[in-house]
């Protein structure tokens, strides 16, 4: 394939920091979890009891995947953070492939490359190969790190290789979605939607009781395949053929799709539209909504479905408490002192949802920066639209969508319980619990606005905060981190309803701080140059 070597070098150069940050963060997690094993699980009889309860606990299973042998640090790590790491690695490869395929094509960079004597398939090939390379480095880091800690070699290799291959599947998924849609945004949305759906399906399949007919569904979910290969628990190597074959099929499909579409467009030819604008478009707010509504609707529907699927697990919780009193101890780690398993479950779920909604809010807000880079901001600001109004049109959408979504997700989470057990009062309570976490989302958004107003080049710092929060909530409990580090998230001061009672003071204080950050950011935005 002519030009592939040059393109590989270019792709590595342009993405090295992106991949390096992901690979290091993800590579450390499994190893650190294994090394914190004794501190977290304890020893002797206490350990055995704890493990027995973990194995049967549907909430943990729903969040983390199926437990096999938790009696070794490696096996514990593979269950506790393995599927999480593989899922995150999927985000890495998917975003990475789209960055260097559809995003480059959309910005017109691929056209320059293709104008040279470069094979038509070379850019896609280079993007996929580099993503696979990063996934391989990640797998090697995991396997080597665990072997170095004295874990069984075959289990460690299954763990590392499984992570690599699961991540490879999403390089393939992204290669396909990058062909289907004409915008990188939509391609990312489709890939992340697929990931979210898989996560929800496997959560339900793992969370239901062992005898349920839903259980085998987890075989259909690629992000579970590393776990199903059973590292440290009698490895089933053949399972790893599944992601390898699927990746191959997806990449070949992407080549096929690329061959039948035009450069710069998606699969479908772009249809004509209306020759005149509707009145609803004719304002800065109307424009912002038109640009963002696809994302808002997609996120809202996706999150509501996810919440409903998770909420449907609440039915199987009641029995658990009777069977295993030690569980409460575990839940204390995940869901802050809940006296009731279901409460703890809702609390843990809402904690994760808060961070995911923050991802949406930041993404919606960062459209403002994209508009600036693509010179659309220049076009709008050369008309009579004041800067503040222009910025607020996008900030407003992010604030309203995020706040409403927190309440909606709470509602959907409690809906199965309300229907199944007639606990209608739960609806308002859990919707309120979601709302009480919304100020955390607004704090993240405030930080994003602040950076965009004063230091637009450091926009990415917001993502560090978001991913740190996700990391702490999901796996922080097992890593033996200092307490202050675990508390270092925007959601820390907020009341974790229903495990904790409502507390207005931190809620109002966080809202005020968030508004102050937004105002401060706007001040900078009004003073600075609009760059293009």
């Amino acid at each position: 394939m002519s030009g592939l070597g040059d393109l590989l070098r270019l792709t590595v150069r342009r993405n090295r920091w992106f991949y390096l940050a992901w690979v290091l963060a993800l590579g450390i997690t499994p190893v650190m979890t294994a090394s914190a094993y004794e501190a977290v699980v304890g020893t002797g009889v206490k350990r055995d009891v704890l493990i027995a309860t973990l194995v049967g606990n549907p909430t943990m299973r729903a969040m983390l995947g199926p437990p096999f042998d938790l009696s070794t640090p490696g096996g514990f790590s593979a269950w506790r953070v393995g599927t999480f790491t593989a899922t995150m690695a999927c985000i890495m490869t998917a975003l990475g492939v789209i960055r260097s395929t559809r995003a480059d094509e959309e910005e017109g960079r691929t056209e320059l490359v293709r104008a040279g004597s470069v094979d038509r398939r070379a850019p896609l090939t280079a993007a996929v190969l580099v993503a696979l390379g990063a996934a391989t480095v990640l797998g090697v880091l995991i396997a080597a790190g665990l072997i170095a800690q004295g874990e069984a070699a075959s289990g460690s290799v299954a763990y590392g290789l499984g992570t690599t291959l699961v991540a490879a599947v999403f390089a393939g998924v992204a290669a396909v979605t990058a062909q289907i849609t004409a915008s990188a945004r939509a391609a990312r949305g489709m890939a992340m939607g697929a990931l979210g759906t898989m996560y929800a399906v496997r959560a339900v399949a793992d969370g239901v009781s062992d005898s349920s007919a839903l259980r085998p569904l987890h075989w259909g979910v690629p992000i579970e395949w590393m776990a199903l290969a059973r590292p440290y628990a009698g490895e089933r190597w053949w399972v790893l053929a599944l992601p390898a074959v699927l990746t191959l099929v997806l990449v070949l499909a992407a080549y096929r799709l690329e061959a039948v579409r035009d450069h710069g467009s998606g699969l479908r030819a772009t249809a004509s539209g209306r020759p005149r604008a509707k009145a609803s478009l004719l304002s800065p707010e109307g424009l912002a909504w038109r640009l963002q509504r696809g994302s808002v609707i997609g996120w809202t529907l996706g999150m509501m479905l996810f919440a409903f699927a998770m909420g449907s697990l609440s039915g199987s919780m009641g029995d658990m408490l009777k069977e295993a009193p030690v569980l409460e101890e575990i839940f204390r780690r995940m869901g802050q002192d809940a006296s009731d398993l279901v409460d703890a479950f809702y609390t843990a779920m809402l904690g994760i949802v808060g961070v995911v909604v923050a991802v949406m809010a930041v993404q919606l807000f960062q459209r403002l920066g994209q508009e600036e880079r693509r010179q659309h901001a220049e076009t709008v600001l050369a008309t009579a639209v004041p800067r503040l109004r222009f910025a607020l049109s996008h900030i407003g959408i992010a604030v309203v969508a995020a706040t409403a979504l927190m309440a909606l997700v709470g509602l959907c989470l409690a809906l199965p319980e309300a229907i199944g057990q007639g606990h209608a009062d739960r609806l308002a309570q859990i919707a309120g619990a979601g709302l009480a976490l919304a100020p955390g989302v607004l704090l993240v958004l405030g930080l994003a606005v602040l950076l965009h107003g004063w230091l637009p080049r450091l926009d990415w710092l917001t993502w560090v905060v978001v991913f740190w929060s996700l990391f702490v909530i999901w796996v922080g409990g097992t890593l033996n981190l200092p307490e202050w580090m675990k508390r270092l998230t925007p959601w820390e001061p907020l009341p974790k309803i229903p495990a904790e009672p409502m507390d207005w003071l931190p809620v109002l204080a966080c809202v005020l701080v968030a508004l102050a950050l937004i105002a401060l950011g706007l001040l900078g935005y009004r003073r600075r140059d609009i760059r293009s």
């Binding site: 478009l281 004719l282 010179q375 600075r528 293009s532």
Partner: protein, 307 residues
């Protein structure tokens, strides 16, 4: 005496180490079509962005339609329309939607004019932004700008993507705007465009105005190319006349660049020798340009050395 639509004094703007504007001073009178000429990277777009309140100058002042381009931006922008050099449209909005949107955001547009312009530029308003060619994107921005009834048009290399037919159409439209008393600032590195359209020209180079005046005034600074065929061999001493440059003598034929002040003298001498044919070409702006920018042409043009 005309009022001033744009008044710029000692404007300086740096981007990190790059001095994009260096004490730039220029005026555009109300009602004139003002050409703003300079090679790539000279600072034309930067000047226009300062005038639009998108960039804040480091020092110096700019006045636009009697207001401050930074503080009064929204109010001033109701009275002007802008066409960027490189038009980027929203991929999902149709051309028609963009035209209506920008018109409304500016404060309103004349639907009759809009439709007339669409026809004139032969533009399909139903296509999505992502499917327009560069030239058609340019047309969308032009129609959007020209459909509003504004006092001032800021056009940054507006014809860069247009084919010759459309460029002629564009010229006609700008002529019509001028007769309506609209002020136009037209930046370009295409000299013929400016030559045909503009009352006055400012030439910018490395962030400074190096020459400014009417075309007649600027021509005055330049030489006329003269080619003459005589009835007898050209005497060698002609070459040493003052005010003649680049002289080539080839038997009876003479080629030379002649200063305006020396033209009368030369013609007198030539007719005394008996002229068979004589052609003289007034300098094009290309030649003006060559004279002012020959440094840039010798060195690679474009990027500025750090200030």
């Amino acid at each position: 005496m005309n009022m001033t639509a744009i008044e710029i004094r000692d404007l300086t703007k740096t981007f990190g180490p790059v001095k994009a504007l260096d004490n730039l001073t220029m005026d555009v009178a109300e009602g004139e079509v003002h050409g703003f000429l300079g090679p790539n990277g000279a600072g034309k777009s930067t000047t226009i962005r300062v005038l639009l309140g998108l960039l804040r100058q480091d020092s110096g002042t700019a006045r636009l339609l009697g207001g401050d381009p930074w503080k009064d931006a929204p109010a001033l922008h109701r009275r002007l329309a802008y066409v960027p050099g490189d038009v980027n449209l929203w991929p999902n909005l149709t051309g028609g939607e963009v035209i209506d949107l920008l018109g409304r955001l500016r404060g309103g547009l004349d639907p009759v004019r809009r439709d007339a312009l669409l026809e004139r530029f032969d533009l399909d308003p139903r296509k999505k932004g992502s499917t327009y060619s560069k030239g058609n994107r340019q047309k969308v921005a032009l129609v959007a700008a020209l459909s509003s009834d504004v006092e001032l048009l800021l056009l940054d290399e507006p014809t860069a993507g247009l084919d010759p037919l459309m460029e002629a159409e564009f010229r006609d439209v700008i002529h019509a705007e001028r007769t309506k008393g609209r002020t136009v600032l037209l930046s370009s590195h295409i000299l013929s465009e400016v030559e045909h359209l503009c009352d006055r020209v400012s030439i910018i180079r490395q962030g400074r105005i190096v020459e400014s005046g009417t075309l007649a005034e600027l021509r005055h600074l330049t030489r006329t190319a003269v080619t003459a065929e005589l009835a007898q061999p050209v005497p060698a001493e002609i070459a040493s006349l003052p005010g003649l440059h680049d002289v080539t003598i080839d038997g009876r034929r003479l080629d030379a660049q002649v200063d305006d002040t020396a033209l009368g003298d030369l013609l007198g001498r030539l007719s005394a020798l008996g002229v068979r044919t004589l052609t003289s070409a007034p300098p094009t702006l290309e030649e003006l340009f060559l004279r002012h920018y020959d440094d840039d042409i010798r060195e690679p043009a474009g990027e500025r050395e750090p200030a």
